[in-house]
């Protein structure tokens, strides 16, 4: 037991839903503490998962000598202070995506990571879904030839809920790092960077179609400051045009699919995990992976629960072997820069080139 990595999880929503069960499913880890801004949530989560220590002050968790690593699953506005404090306390850090509120915060987090010499990752776990891994493999093997276009679409209801029916929460507040782009869109940015290289420019439109949401437990509506749908067009250094079209203000939608087009072939992955492909000379699109062959190849259902442990294993490798793994905070910062450019483009209605000025 003693050689397990001892983890403290900060945040009891996604932390309890995905991080804790993920760590507990792996022999590399032991979850030793949980922090949540709401003490009763921290204690309930500790009871539920048999975690010995619970606190409503994450600094108490960071002060513990028996914590090797922290997993930051708080609302986005807390990522920066918690992560910087964690590195200062000598912990390895796995931080939820998006990395921060903006690239300045992200740069400080990466600098803190480097100064500390500790291992770091950002939880772009969807890279580790089997369908997306398979696409990476096929792209590297030249399946599509020279890649030309990638189109990512998601027409939800996200988690089964039309935007209007989603209870009002921090995701509705800009200053807390809310918004559906941070929830869903930045995953595509990470994916496109991973597959096709750095983003060289963007055009984006972010909109709020449902401006009010109901406060849980009260017959009261509160304003939504953040986007519930968005269109992003981008280009990468390898000449690929990327498109992201996402909406959660959809009651019945087509779900999600990612289409990759190149000079020689095409790959299409649905969110259910059906991956088909065809190349020059083929008769038609044929399945390359099906949900039957590879359960959870897609994101529908328990996508994050399937993908997270695979990312956590990489984190363990980084800690134990001192190697650089991906996606780390440098990847997180690059994606953050693209995100900042996307918001700027939407505000200024023009193409925004990358990298942005320092």
């Amino acid at each position: 037991m003693s050689n397990r990595i001892r983890v403290g999880v900060i945040g009891s929503s996604f932390g309890a839903e995905v991080h804790i069960p993920g760590f507990q499913s792996l022999p590399e880890y032991q979850v030793v503490g949980i922090a949540s801004g709401r003490r009763e949530r921290a204690e309930a989560t500790a009871r539920q998962f048999g975690i010995p220590f619970a606190t409503d002050d994450y600094r108490e968790l960071l002060a513990r000598a028996d914590v090797d690593m922290v997993s930051v699953a708080t609302p986005v506005y807390l990522h920066h202070p918690v992560t910087v404090d964690a590195f200062a306390a000598g912990k390895h850090v796995l931080c939820e995506k998006p990395l921060a509120l903006n690239r300045q915060q992200g740069a400080e987090m990466l600098a803190a990571a480097r100064d500390s010499g500790k291992a770091h990752m950002v939880n772009y776990e969807l890279r580790f879904l089997p369908g997306r891994q398979k696409i990476k493999e096929l792209l590297d093997a030249g399946y599509v030839g020279e890649p030309r276009m990638v189109v990512g679409e998601f027409f939800g209801p996200f988690k089964g809920m039309h935007g209007r029916d989603v209870p009002w929460d921090w995701l509705a507040v800009r200053s807390l790092g809310g918004g559906f782009f941070g929830a869903k869109g930045c995953h595509y940015v990470d994916l496109y960077r991973w597959w096709f290289g750095e983003v060289t420019g963007v055009y984006a439109t972010l909109e709020t179609k449902e401006p009010l949401r109901k406060v849980p437990g009260a017959e009261q509506w509160r304003p939504v400051e953040t986007e519930d749908c968005f269109i992003v067009m981008l280009r990468t250094e390898r000449g690929v045009q990327g498109t992201i079209c996402v909406s959660r203000v959809v009651r019945h939608g087509t779900g999600g699919r990612i289409m990759v087009y190149g000079s020689e072939g095409t790959l299409i992955l649905t969110d259910e995990g059906l991956l088909t492909g065809a190349r020059r000379g083929d008769k038609r699109q044929e399945p390359l992976l099906t949900p039957g062959q590879m359960p959870q190849a897609g994101i529908t259902g328990a996508g994050p629960q399937v993908a997270f442990p695979r990312l956590a294993r990489e984190m363990a490798r980084a800690i134990r072997e001192g190697v650089r793994v991906a996606p780390d905070m440098e990847d997180g910062l690059r994606a953050q820069e693209v995100t900042d450019a996307i918001f700027r483009s939407s505000a200024e209605r023009r193409w925004v080139g990358l990298p942005l000025e320092p």
Partner: protein, 370 residues
Amino acid sequence: MHNGVVGVGVIGTGWGTAIQAPSFIRTPGCKVVGIASSRRERAEAAARQLSIPFATDDYRALLARDDVDLVCVTTPPYLHHEMTMAALAAGKHVLCEKPMAVDRWQAWEMERRVRETGRIGLIDFMMRFVPARAYMKELIAGGYLGVPYWVHATHFLGFHGLAMDDVPYDWVARKKYSGGMLGRMGCHFIDAFRWWFGEVTGLYAELDTRAKTRPLPDGSGVREADSDDSIWCSMKLDNGAMATLVVSAAVRHGPGFRIEAYGSEGTLVLENDGPLLGARKGDARLAELPVPARLLSPAEKEDRRLRAFVPWARRVVDAVREGQQITPDFRDGARCQEVMDAIHRSSETRRWVGLPLESRRGFVQGGSST
């Protein structure tokens, strides 16, 4: 008009011979009386094949004939303006292929001339007559979607695994002849967005040529292409909805097209030949919305292009016979042309372009002539 029968003259032997002339031939109340092509042998072959009495390599000879009431202009877009203006001057009604012209200046001039002459002027946005699309129009107008939020259209070609890189070189590869996918496919989607939802008030777009070369038809090599084979466009409509258009022909084995329309209360999805899918609040899932029989085409079981064009041809003939202007008309064509011009401008400047675009001095777009 002889005995109430509309005489149809067709200019162009590509689309004209494949779809338009055969559709008019089977349409009651009209007769295809002549065909023109700059290549005489093509005109004569088409005339023989379709039993059309008159063939010429000079479209003006067709316009000079008394038995021609309606002229179908099915040539490449750079010829539409000249031929349409000549047809109107000769007192003919005109059905002009889409895209209407090379730019909005030509298009609005044609639109003004048709009003001045009192002739019927129609643009061949025949996709409006695809039964599922006509039904979408009715459903949207009836409030099926609630407040429209977003209409998203994708079209990825590459049928039989052939990308634009493999398509023989012709005028479509040339920008100067208004070739490219925006004119070929994109304008149908623009027309659909306008027809279903309202005018485009602004857009951002990028046009690309991803397949850099095309094989020469004689197999002697390849030639550089400079027209767009890929379209990216994000638009805003006057009802507040967003519209997106993502198209590429520089792909292999694409899934074809899909149009998804989302609103506060409902969703409509049409993928290729259908069926039309829809769901509203309270429904369990997207399900087929059967198209009412009254909207089905007389050519329902045939080639998808005939399925749309045959009912359209009937309306065109009725409009000419009754002297009744219908839509899609030259105004629709010119509005669409404006959006296309804005797409080109946005693609060149990489900025959002508001619509309508500026008009020339002393020339009011779409309004009464000054």
